[in-house]
């Protein structure tokens, strides 16, 4: 009896300890790793991605967190360099042991982090990078949130150039980073094949460049009817302004990264007539209820930020963070990393405001299709009277192309 009693007491204590440990584990914060460039010419990408996510996390935690657990995010500067991205990934995965990674980086870094995440079997939600090489890793661990794949951007741009602008001769100027180079080459291929557009010249420049006179003079010599510009908005603004100084009156078309009020600040009146694409639902200052509410909350959390914040990257990762949290919620209280992946795959036309009481809906609805690309939609805008105005008479079709055609995602 004494032995039985003693064993019973020990079993009870052990059971209690196991329950307490389980409860403690369940109550532990969910640690998310974040990477993005927070220094250098692309720092506005990394900082925007971080701050949008932080706002979402505040709201999610204020509403009780995910299945009773709070989300905690640890951020790293990847400097927009693949070499630093590798070190940052290993730190997050091996040292910090993050549960998942949220990406706020540029394309060449997203590829490196994606590969590391796949190798380590850690869910990776890319919120900002657009290179197809990230999704071409064909990993079930990798998702692309509010951003849009370059292949979808280029498909929309090709149709816009051929059918709306009706361009016959274009010159191309692109930055040498992964995103810009890939998008430029895709669009050139598309407009030549589909519409027989003559590409008169392709000029390149580096992120951080301040003088574009040789590229612009080479463009001017070929007398195009449009100039296609691919790169980040600061250099684009400088190039557009300098183009007008060199007597180039040709209309410019920019890409998704250029719809930014910082471009209007630097380029000034030279930007009039610029056409660009935009991926989120609303641009800064839009009077839609959700955007007004978002900007108010953002300004409250970051009161000292300049007038052009939040930018579209803030918006991307605000919405993408909610998608990640939704996946965690659906994975249940005993969430595993594999369970998170399977739960994310159930998101179809997901709007954060549908299932989170504090959320506002400001990104395109997300559906994680077979290739895990959450968003395939964008819209077109033109600079008129110093602001971006939507081009109402052109609605691009939502791409349905699967890429790769026979994608088989691997664990």
């Amino acid at each position: 009896m004494n032995l039985l009693s003693s064993l019973g007491k020990r079993a009870g204590a052990l059971a209690a300890a196991l329950v307490m440990t389980s409860m403690a584990h369940a109550q532990q914060d969910i640690l998310i790793g974040y990477h993005g460039p927070m220094t250098g010419p692309a720092s506005w990408v990394g900082l925007g991605g971080r701050d949008g996510a932080l706002l979402a996390i505040d709201e999610i935690n204020a509403a009780g967190g995910v299945n009773g657990r709070k989300i905690k995010m640890i951020s790293y500067d990847d400097g927009a360099k693949p070499s630093e991205a590798e070190a940052v990934s290993k730190k997050m995965i091996e040292s910090d042991k993050v549960f998942a990674i949220l990406g706020g980086g540029v394309s060449n870094v997203g590829i490196v982090v994606g590969e590391e995440a796949h190798r380590a079997k850690v869910p990776y939600m890319n919120g900002t990078a657009a290179s197809p090489k990230i999704m071409d890793i064909q990993s079930r661990w990798i998702f692309s949130g509010a951003t849009i794949d370059i292949r979808d951007i280029s498909q929309n741009e090709v149709i816009f150039i051929g059918e709306y602008l009706k361009a016959k001769k274009v010159a191309v100027m692109n930055a040498t980073d992964e995103f810009s180079q890939t998008l430029a080459n895709d669009v050139i291929k598309g407009i030549k094949e589909k519409y027989g557009v003559d590409v008169t010249t392709q000029q390149k420049y580096n992120p951080g460049d301040t003088d574009f006179s040789s590229q612009l003079l080479a463009v001017k010599q070929t007398n195009p009817d449009h100039v296609l510009l691919f790169g980040l908005y600061v250099e684009a603004a400088r190039a557009i302004r300098q183009a007008r100084e060199l007597g180039i009156r040709t209309p410019f078309m920019g890409d998704t990264s250029m719809m930014n009020s910082g471009l209007l600040t630097v380029a000034g009146p030279a930007a009039e007539g610029l056409t660009v694409e935009y991926v989120p639902l609303y641009f800064n200052g839009n009077k839609a209820k959700d955007m007004v509410e978002f900007e108010a909350r953002y300004k409250k959390k970051f009161p000292s930020y300049p007038v052009d914040r939040p930018n579209y990257v803030d918006v991307y990762n605000y919405g993408t963070m909610y998608a990640l949290a939704e996946g965690m919620k659906r994975a249940g209280p005993n969430m595993t990393q594999k369970g998170l992946v399977e739960a994310l795959e159930t998101l179809k036309e997901f709007k954060a405001s549908d299932s989170w009481p504090n959320a506002v809906h400001i990104i395109q609805p997300l559906s994680f299709n077979e290739a895990h690309n959450g968003n395939r939609r964008l819209s077109f805008h033109r600079v008129a009277n110093g602001t971006f105005q939507p081009i109402a008479d052109f609605k691009p079709p939502v791409p349905t192309t699967k890429f790769p055609a026979n994608a088989t995602l691997k664990w």
């Binding site: 900082l47 420049y205 001017k220 010599q221 007597g247 052009d308």
Partner: protein, 290 residues
């Protein structure tokens, strides 16, 4: 529009900015034998100060330029006293590291206060191009070229005819001899840093309306540095010639070789000049007695 003359004029306009940076580098090196790797950040500081004076304090543009010069000079004096004066007897490599560190500190301090959001200044001059014999140039860019010409003339007169200028020349030739003649070498150092920083500040406030303001403006150090070496690191006229060469050659390389080659060309010029004339185009060979 004639392409070749336009390439030359646009190249001169770009090269004038590089020349301003190079002159600042040369001035500081001549007097103190320090290569100031933070000279690019003095351009950034000048641009942000210009923004503060024009946009926040509503100062007219031209008085703001004078204010930027004065403020930049003050920053130069403070940095010299705090960061470099204590290292006056340290090995050259230590001081070089210090200038790199100062540059990083300045850049990140600005980023901390104002983030990386681009800003601009409304310049007082027009951005509408003027045409001369088929060549286009805006009054803004012409102003940079004119400023370099005025700065060089003023410096020549300053070094030739003023007591302080002669004292700086004496210190540059021999710090020991200058000290023996009653010149305060440390005082000359302060004034040289002030002058070098003021030149960087002018470059920043002139370029700000053209390319906007962000914390990456200091990247202009690289072509400025190349210009200084090409010209001979102790020659102010050499710095100007070097700057213009870099600007013009970059443009020609960008059009006739490849736009990808444009940034590389300044280093190609550097290697080519140093192979033919190791002391630079206008520098004097240094002889050491062993």
């Amino acid at each position: 529009m004639e392409l070749i003359p336009q390439l030359i004029v646009s190249g001169i306009a770009a090269g004038a900015l590089y020349a301003l940076v190079a002159i600042g580098l040369v001035l500081i090196y001549k007097a103190t034998e320090i290569v100031n790797f933070a000279q690019g950040e003095s351009v950034t500081v000048g641009a942000y100060m210009g923004w503060l004076f024009v946009t926040e304090f509503h100062m007219p543009y031209f008085p703001a330029i004078a204010a930027v010069m004065a403020a930049s000079a003050l920053v130069g004096i403070v940095v010299e006293r705090v960061a470099y004066r204590p290292l006056i007897h340290s090995p050259p490599f230590t001081v070089i590291l210090a200038t790199l560190a100062v540059g990083l500190i300045i850049k990140n301090a600005i980023r901390l206060v104002w983030q990386d959001t681009p800003r601009t200044i409304n310049g007082a001059l027009s951005a509408t191009p003027l045409e001369f014999a088929g060549v286009l140039i805006t009054p803004e860019r012409l102003a940079i070229i004119v400023t370099v010409a005025v700065v060089v003339t003023a410096l020549m007169l300053f070094f030739r005819f003023t007591k302080l200028g002669k004292a700086m020349r004496a210190t540059a030739q021999s710090q020991e001899a200058a000290s023996l003649m009653g010149i305060s070498v440390s005082g000359i150092f302060s004034k040289t840093w002030a002058l070098g920083s003021a030149l960087g500040g002018i470059a920043g406030v002139l370029i700000a309306p053209l390319i906007g303001i962000n914390t990456e403006l200091g990247g202009v150090l690289i072509p400025g540095f190349v210009a200084a070496i090409v010209g001979g690191f102790t020659s102010i006229p050499g710095a100007i010639v070097g700057g213009i060469m870099v600007g013009v050659f970059e443009n020609f390389a960008g059009v006739y070789v490849s736009s990808s080659f444009k940034r590389v060309v300044s280093f190609v010029i550097l290697i080519a000049v140093l192979m033919i004339r190791p002391s630079g185009l206008f520098g004097k060979p240094v002889r050491k007695q062993v």
